[in-house]
């Protein structure tokens, strides 16, 4: 019994660090580890991952807001899209079987990994494109990068496209019980051309709200098992605090490089599990 708690907290600290550095919220790591390694039921694992996302989001946001990395206005603006999406997704989840969930989850992760790979060779873009909308909505800002040791200014482009991807991120969140951070980071990093650290911190910040929008559905369905979700919450809060210290000193490129293979590996495992292959 108590061995399970130690395992859960250990997994959660790792997930908290991972989630707060990459902007993934930690749910991406929790679900596969709990189901594949600890043999926990997929519904309870999804419930725990939802708790992990909320804990990473609020825990990491304290530091990222304090250091000015999170863009509160961009986050708030895009939350309109993610919350509407989350309600849509939560409704769909009741009609989809667990093996289908695995496959959707896996394919979704694989897609994010490939998209992040492409960003590495992203082309230059026109800085003035969509500037008026970004200015009108105050979707700009600056932060001090501890790795570059200088101030970085930025503003959002392709705002409508970013808003659309955010709606999709919300649907995935409600459907899979994860913050679908990879989708959110992608919308800001890939579409709206924001700095990766700002995308990651703002994604983390938003994720708690998206997850909370679908949390009551999971609670009432009995997916939030206190014996599993309790230790997960504590571990993730510790991990997220550590993660915020690490991320600010990392190179953006390093963050991107860690992101891709991990996500791809987990994605393939989930798809195989969904297809009924045992390890």
């Amino acid at each position: 019994m108590s061995l399970l708690v130690i395992k859960l907290i250990f997994v959660a600290v790792f997930a908290g660090i991972f989630g707060s550095v990459l902007g993934l919220g930690g749910g991406t790591v929790i679900t596969p580890i709990l189901t594949l390694m600890l043999g926990i039921d997929i519904n309870h694992a999804i419930g725990a991952s939802l708790i992990a996302v909320i804990a990473t989001s609020s825990g990491a946001a304290i530091a990222y807001i304090n250091d000015g990395i999170t863009n509160l206005r961009i986050g708030m603006f895009l939350e309109v899209a993610t919350t509407i999406g989350a309600i849509t997704g939560a409704f769909l989840a009741g009609f989809v079987s667990s093996s289908v969930l695995y496959i959707i989850f896996g394919l979704f992760l694989l897609y994010s990994a490939l998209a992040m790979l492409q960003k590495k060779k992203a082309e230059k873009y026109d800085l003035n494109r969509g500037k008026s909308l970004a200015n009108k909505m105050k979707l700009n800002g600056n932060y001090y990068d501890k790795n570059l040791e200088k101030e970085v200014s930025y503003h959002a482009v392709h705002v409508p496209a970013g808003f659309g991807v955010m709606y999709g991120a919300g649907v995935a969140s409600g459907l899979l019980g994860i913050g679908s951070g990879s989708f959110k980071v992608m919308a800001m990093d890939l579409f709206m051309k924001l700095p990766l650290k700002v995308s990651s911190a703002t994604s983390n910040f938003m994720m708690g709200v998206t997850a909370a929008a679908s949390a009551s559905v999971y609670l009432i369905r009995g997916d939030i098992d206190p014996q599993i979700s309790g230790p997960i919450a504590i571990g993730v809060l510790v991990g997220a605090t550590i993660g915020t210290k690490i991320m600010q000193r990392m190179k953006s490129k390093t963050i991107r490089i860690i992101f891709v293979p991990v996500i791809a590996y987990i994605a393939i495992q989930m798809i195989l599990e969904g297809l009924g292959w045992k390890w």
Binding site: M1, S2, V5, I51, I54, A55, S57, S58, G59, A61, I62, I65, N66, D67, G68, L72, R73, M76, F77, E79, V80, T83, I84, A86, I87, A90, F91, G94, M137, K138, G141, N142, Y143, Y144, K146, E149, K150, E151, G208, V209, A211, A212, A213, S214, A215, S216, V217, L219, I220, R221, G222, I224, D225, P226, Q227, S229, G230, A233, I234, L237
Partner: protein
């Protein structure tokens, strides 16, 4: 030099909105984690959950009753509930914060997000 530059950037970005949101999160996180830890200690000290095997409350009313009766699972779930509500409070506080900053555009945007959140909680109760 770099240090003071970092501090200047931080202070510029730290308007009252950032400060108020930061404190809301800090209070929410501290409260919920203390309750969860207390519940976990109760659970392992007593060696039982306060409920029948593999059962635990799933409705807010039952969770609160279990918590006040000091049933371990009830206490843990109460802490998890506080954790889940933290982002909702954060959005609520943001409405007031943007209003104080006289940023009416974002007061409205935040009001929209808050309304959607409240609707989602009601939908959850119906499901």
């Amino acid at each position: 030099m770099n240090h003071s530059q970092a501090k200047a950037t931080r202070e510029k970005n730290m308007d009252s909105v950032g400060l108020m949101i930061g404190w809301t999160l800090r209070i929410g996180i501290t409260m919920s984690s203390l309750i969860i830890i207390f519940g976990l200690i109760l659970f392992y000290a007593e060696g039982q959950s306060g409920y029948e095997a593999d059962r635990y409350p799933t409705h807010i009313k039952d969770i609160m009753q279990g918590c006040f009766a000091l049933k371990p699972y009830g206490v843990i779930l109460m802490g998890l509930l506080a954790l889940m509500l933290t982002p909702v409070f954060r959005v609520g506080i943001s409405i007031i914060a943007f209003l104080i900053e006289k940023d009416y555009l974002y007061t409205v945007i935040t009001l929209i997000v808050f309304s959607i959140l409240i609707i989602s909680f009601y939908i959850g109760r119906m499901a």
